[in-house]
């Protein structure tokens, strides 16, 4: 599997570390339940999935990758913080 790193180009997946679901957002408050959900509750869809991948053996950027879990087709990859405009 290759991941199109927006910084490095298409690179072998062995250079990356997967974190999984990109959807959970770290809660800001003191709510233990919200933190529990953030930490442990994960979807595991068969199909298109937004995931976080870290280009550990490359540019060290965290990427948001849209991958089809059925066939590893990657529709899109962007820097994780690009979405928030930082």
């Amino acid at each position: 599997m290759r991941i199109p790193c927006p910084f490095c180009g298409a690179r072998d997946s062995r250079e990356f570390v997967s974190r999984g679901d990109a959807a959970p957002v770290r809660p800001a408050g003191d709510e233990a339940d919200a933190m529990f959900d953030y930490l442990y509750l994960r979807d595991n869809p068969a199909g298109v999935f937004e995931e976080l991948w870290y280009h550990a053996q490359g540019c060290r950027n965290w990427l948001r990758v849209r991958r089809d879990t059925l066939n590893h087709a990657i529709a899109h990859a962007e820097l994780a913080h690009a979405e928030r405009g930082a």
Binding site: M1, R2, V17, R19, R26, A28, D30, E31, A32, M35, F36, Y38, L39, L52, Y54, A56, R60, N61, W62, N71, H72, A73, I74, L79, A80, H81, R84, A86
Partner: protein
């Protein structure tokens, strides 16, 4: 021994001017360059190649290619011995030695052939039925007996002396197979300017052309293919990989291929890999893999001398070998007649052509009759007899039994397009009744089949199909095709019918030759309810042998369909999985073996430490000096005790370069550190260091280390050796994903700095002498202070940090100066009796000081467990804060870090021992914790240990039992503070 009685007087793609000698089962034979082991043995009249897996039936050669199920031999001897190698794929070389397999005591007389008498025992599913009980008997009796009786070749058990390479290729079009279709498709893609990789398992291009007497543009198949390959080689955008099998197709156009670089040589040349594993990434793949011929299921169809018709043609035309002297051809397809004609042309007596079809091509039949051949249209084969084959019993259309004294039976049962590669990603082949074959059907993305692999049988159709496939692929890649004219060929008859069995199939009629699966096994499986192809496969082991059932599979499905009253389109075929051919594990390992299994990281002064006689220990990929034995020291303890005492009483030096080092810069580093560590950092003054503890988001301790503020916006962090990479990833996650609004840059500088701990009461004196320009006074460089300096003109840093509990410093210089610094310190240090110490002494001193390290930072401990809970700030949010307050993590009964000293001062406490109350029964319910780290303390003069003990903080002064039933007797120990030495910390502040 040079007579080759079955070698034809002329013809074949062999070099008759050279003779190669080789041995099979110790007996010498002769062959020629261009031969395979199979063709050379056949030329020498050898019919018997091995014994079958289960019944030890004598077996010969069935095919002439990599799909061979029978003629498996062990090639080479000693460490290079390779079992289960198809003799049909072994290129002959001078001095070759091969052994037959699965026979005892000899191939001709095999004692295990008595298995045939017990055949009812070995039916489908016999493992599940026969040996139900007693369980013990499995281990003691059944399994050893079965393993001896059933099996293939054995590994040598010796280390593989050869090496294997990995390589990568990227292309627009990968063409698998360099037969007529592959050559045409590759040329079209090359002419369109696409990057092409063409791979073929054979040493020669041409595929089936090498086996048939055909002409293309007036050239022989061999000449035409060679010319095509020459033309392809002239394209800069084409890479041809011969002797290369594409064995798997994976996601995103990745393919695995194995190139047999040196397997055709007696041994690889110096520096030459034996095989090369290719990862080929292609935008589009064209399967020009051709088709393999099917056998027909009849009684005795596995006897040596029964051979696929296509293989007979190959041995005649490519190798100049007659696989027999008196042949019968059994066919359900037009292609069998071609083989009959080949036999006639080679002056082999053809006794009969039996075509199961009532209507046969008139011109072919007429040709045969003219040559004096008996033609039985609408005929049946009843049985093949003799071992090797001596007689063929047939029945003509009128029902009369006919006997033929044949030693060769050529069988043509139709053709299976080779589309396994397409199925590797889950694609299901579709049944095409008109050609009686599973074909690609709706091709998956990026893949198409060409030629016979597409179901286009007959040479003209093959060529046209290949060009069409190439034109489609070229268009899909946005290029314009520039089609070249196709070569002129004669049209061939290529009709196929659906006949799977012949005769009664009551005795041994084999479907899967390699796994000894018979027609009756299939009907039995169906009777027992295994009616799906995947169940059938697993119950009967059909198609699960090393040949992947390439000749067996479809026949098995056809019998299944017949037994269940379904159509083949309905039963479907099994999902083929990679690899298409067996691939040596060594090839996947490549260079990653032995010392090259993974990279080795050495610190800047590694060679210096080695010269001091250091014993090294692996810390991840790092090599760290464990201790430095001196002459006269006979045990590691003597060295370690000396190193500890020298440090505690004088001065010692330890290489701590392997600690993770991260430099952070930006206006918001303090804010980020506040969120990464449980304690506060934003208020850390410039020139000061602070110890910090990091949690994971789930509340458990992740890592610890120090952070030094070098400048208002520049900070320097250390991590544990083991967590250097995970902490870097964690920081990047925090600054890129969690809080991208923070102005923080971070970079790992672990390998940029060489760092040495200089510890002991005389460390200040030593450094004052070694660094005369630096003010070493307590005021200028207090405990937890840091200064920048220059050493030999380069930036260096001196930190006053202590892991040992002594007055201590850490001195960092650019990594390339590390060795020079160590030499310098020891030169100056002579006057101070400077002693090098390793990780063991480091560990002893940290246990004496109660510092948690890897054994305590084990992912199951909280900051409070480790006695670090009071560091946690309540004035800020940080990673892990909320989850650390979970009831289970805040439970006061959780095991807490304590120190243990043996009551009897001479008893050692072992790490891993479990803690019990005195008198408690030694069961899991009584378990109160465990020992994490233990050592002998030369400072205190007795063994000590750190442990995690339930309610530990309140139990100082109590006695516990360290229970260690696996390694030793129970030890009584006194619970106390984890800090054994200088608990006020006076030594490090002075």
């Amino acid at each position: 021994m040079t007579a080759q009685p079955y070698r034809l007087s002329a013809g074949g793609l062999i070099d008759r001017t050279q003779t190669l000698s080789f041995r099979f089962d110790g007996k010498p034979y002769a062959g020629h360059p261009g031969d395979t082991l199979a063709s050379a043995l056949l030329a020498n009249g050898v019919r018997l190649f091995g014994r079958s897996f289960k019944y030890h039936r004598p077996r010969g050669v069935l095919t002439a290619g990599s799909e061979e199920p029978n003629a498996l031999v062990t090639l080479r001897e000693g460490a290079r011995a390779e079992p289960n190698t198809p003799a049909t794929t072994i290129e002959l070389y001078d001095g070759l030695a091969a052994q037959s397999q699965n026979r005892w005591p000899s191939l001709r007389f095999d004692a295990m052939a008595v298995n045939q008498l017990f055949a009812p025992l070995f039916v489908a599913g016999f493992y599940y039925k026969t040996f139900m009980w007693p369980a013990k008997a499995w281990e003691m009796l059944y399994e050893p007996v079965i393993r001896r009786a059933a099996g293939l070749g054995a590994l040598s058990g010796l280390e593989d002396p050869d090496h294997y390479e990995h390589d990568h290729a990227f292309c627009d079009v990968l063409v698998v197979g360099a037969g007529p279709a592959g050559l045409i498709a590759a040329r079209e893609a090359a002419r369109a300017g696409l990057r092409v990789v063409l791979a073929d398992e054979s040493p020669l291009p041409g595929g089936r052309l090498l086996s048939e007497r055909v002409e293309l543009d007036g050239k022989s198949g061999c000449q035409w293919a060679a010319a095509m390959l020459g033309e392809l080689a002239s394209f800069a955008n084409v890479r041809v990989l011969m002797r290369t099998t594409v064995f798997g197709r994976f996601d995103q156009g990745e393919h695995g291929a194995i190139e047999r670089v040196a397997d055709h040589l007696p041994a690889p040349r110096p520096g030459q890999p034996r095989q090369r594993l290719w990862k080929i990434v292609a935008q589009r793949t064209i399967l020009a893999t051709g088709a393999t011929e099917r056998p027909i299921v009849f009684d005795g169809n596995d006897r040596p001398g029964v051979m696929l018709a296509s293989a007979v043609s190959t041995y005649l035309n490519r190798f100049g070998v007659a696989p027999g002297r008196r042949a019968v051809v059994l066919t359900t397809a037009d292609s069998g007649w071609q083989t009959a004609a080949d036999l006639v042309a080679a002056n082999v007596a053809v006794l009969a052509v039996i075509d199961t079809r009532d209507v046969v091509p008139a011109d072919l039949a007429e040709q045969m009759r003219a040559a004096g051949v008996t033609v039985l249209s609408g005929g049946q084969l009843v049985a093949a007899k003799g071992s090797p084959l001596s007689s063929v019993i047939a029945r003509d259309a009128a029902g009369h039994t006919r006997h033929f004294a044949a030693d060769l039976l050529a069988v043509a049962g139709g053709w299976n397009p080779q589309v396994a590669l397409a199925a590797h990603l889950g694609h299901k082949p579709a049944w095409r009744a008109d050609i009686a074959a599973y074909v690609l059907g709706d091709a998956p993305d990026g893949l198409s089949a060409a030629g016979a692999a597409e179901g286009a049988f007959g040479l003209a159709g093959t060529l046209a199909s290949a060009r069409a496939a190439a034109v489609t692929a070229i268009a899909a890649l946005g290029k314009a095709a520039m089609p070249a004219p196709l070569p002129l060929v004669e049209e061939q008859h290529h009709a196929v019918s659906t006949v799977w069995t012949s005769g009664p199939c009551k005795a041994k009629a084999f479907v899967d030759f390699q796994h000894d699966v018979t027609a009756s096994d299939i009907t039995l499986a169906v009777r027992e309810g295994y009616t799906s192809v995947e169940h059938l496969k697993r119950y009967t082991t059909l198609g699960m042998a090393t040949d992947q059932g390439r000749v067996a599979q479809v026949n098995g499905h056809a019998l299944l369909a017949a037994a269940t009253g379904r159509a083949l389109a309905e039963t479907g075929t099994i999902r083929a999985r990679p690899p298409v051919v067996p691939v040596a594990i060594g090839a996947f390992g490549g260079h990653h073996r032995g010392r090259q299994f993974r990279p080795e990281r050495r610190t800047a002064s590694h060679d210096w430490a080695a010269a001091q006689g250091a014993q090294f220990v692996d810390a991840g990929q790092w090599k760290r000096a464990q201790w430095f034995p001196r002459p006269g020291e006979t045990t590691w303890r003597q060295s370690v005790d000396r190193e500890v005492q020298a440090t505690r009483n004088g001065v010692g030096l330890c290489d701590v370069s392997t600690l993770g080092k991260i430099e952070l810069a930006g206006a918001d580093v303090g804010a980020l550190l506040d969120r990464l560590y449980i304690n506060g950092f934003a208020n850390l003054p410039v020139g000061k260091a602070r110890y910090g503890v990091m949690l994971r988001e789930d509340g458990f301790v992740f890592d610890d280390g120090t952070v030094t503020r070098i400048a208002p916006d520049r900070w320097f962090m250390t991590t544990t050796t083991a967590n250097a990479a995970p902490v870097m990833r964690h920081i990047d996650f925090a600054r890129q994903v969690l809080w991208p609004e923070l102005d923080v840059q971070a970079v790992s500088v672990t390998e940029q700095w060489a760092t040495y701990a200089i510890a002991g009461p005389r460390s200040r004196e030593l450094l004052a002498a070694a660094l005369p320009d630096v003010d070493m006074s307590n005021a200028a460089l207090p405990y937890m202070g840091a200064v920048g300096l220059r050493w030999q003109g380069h930036a260096a840093r001196l930190y006053r940090l202590s892991f040992s509990g002594e007055l201590a410093y850490e001195l960092s210089v650019p990594a390339r100066l590390g060795a020079a610094l160590v030499e310098h310190l020891f030169a100056v240090g002579k006057a101070f009796d400077l002693t090098a110490y390793g990780t063991e002494a480091l560990g002893v001193m940290r246990i004496e000081k109660g510092h948690p390290a890897g054994n305590e930072l084990n992912g199951w401990t909280t900051a409070t467990d480790l006695g670090l809970g009071r560091m946690a700030s309540t004035k800020k949010d940080y990673i892990g804060r909320i989850m650390a307050t979970r009831p289970a993590l805040a439970d006061p009964a959780r095991p807490r870090l304590v120190g243990l000293s043996p009551v009897d001062r001479s008893s050692a406490i072992r790490a891993g021992g479990h803690l019990l109350r005195p008198g408690a029964v030694a069961v899991a319910a009584s378990d109160e914790g465990y020992v994490t780290s233990a050592c002998y303390s030369p400072t205190l003069g007795h063994p000590i240990a750190l442990a995690l003990l339930a309610h530990g903080a309140e139990r100082h002064g109590e006695e516990v039992v360290v229970h260690d039933p696996v390694r030793g007797a129970d030890v009584r120990a006194l619970v106390g503070d984890p800090v054994f030495f200088d608990s006020a910390g006076e030594r490090l502040r002075g």
